[in-house]
Amino acid sequence: MDINQVVGTLVCTYRIPGLEHCSLRILKDRKGKLQVATDPVGTRPGNWVFTASGSAGRYAMGDASILTDLTIGGIIDHWEPETLARTAPATSRATSQAPAPDSGAAQAA
């Protein structure tokens, strides 16, 4: 399941009966690509949400007859974008970080 941010609501009155009355949200993913997802939770623009895609999205709507391939699963309580949490290096060997060269000295040399 992916993590996206709700950008806004999509109004689409002329739609197939398979989408029934679901509210549609516009989501922005990590790379900034916009997608449309059905919203059984009721989100507001700016919320960070996780989504279920594919056939799991149809089951996430609670009724598998809704023809969606992306559904909002829930609102994340706390999320900072693009912060790679430092995992405890318990099992994985910490890769040695290359020391950042001192930019001033490098140019001077």
Binding site: A52, G54, A56, Y59, D77, A85, A88
Partner: protein
């Protein structure tokens, strides 16, 4: 199936009832941060195997479980730098 590293649990109180009470974990697949249902009880820092598509639903509970990525195993020993 993918090899991912568990980063931290994902807390989402306002979520659809379909997820029941299963734990959700933020996992790292290369550089992409994904969310997976935790069926085995992994802890942050573990290297795990994640399964997708319809198998993810079955692994997470029932055929109607709305998951498209589920952690199905914890790798005993994995060195990400060494290409096996």
């Amino acid at each position: 199936m993918k090899i991912c590293q568990v980063i931290k649990p994902l807390v989402s109180t306002n979520r659809i009832p379909g997820f029941e009470h299963k734990h959700l974990q933020v996992v790292l697949d290369g550089s992409a941060q994904l969310v997976a249902v935790d069926a085995v009880g992994a802890k942050p820092g573990d290297w795990v195997i994640c399964v997708g598509s319809s198998a993810a639903r079955e692994a997470a509970g029932s055929k109607e479980y709305p998951s498209d990525l589920t952690i199905v195993g914890i790798i005993d020993d994995w060195d990400p730098t060494v290409p096996t």
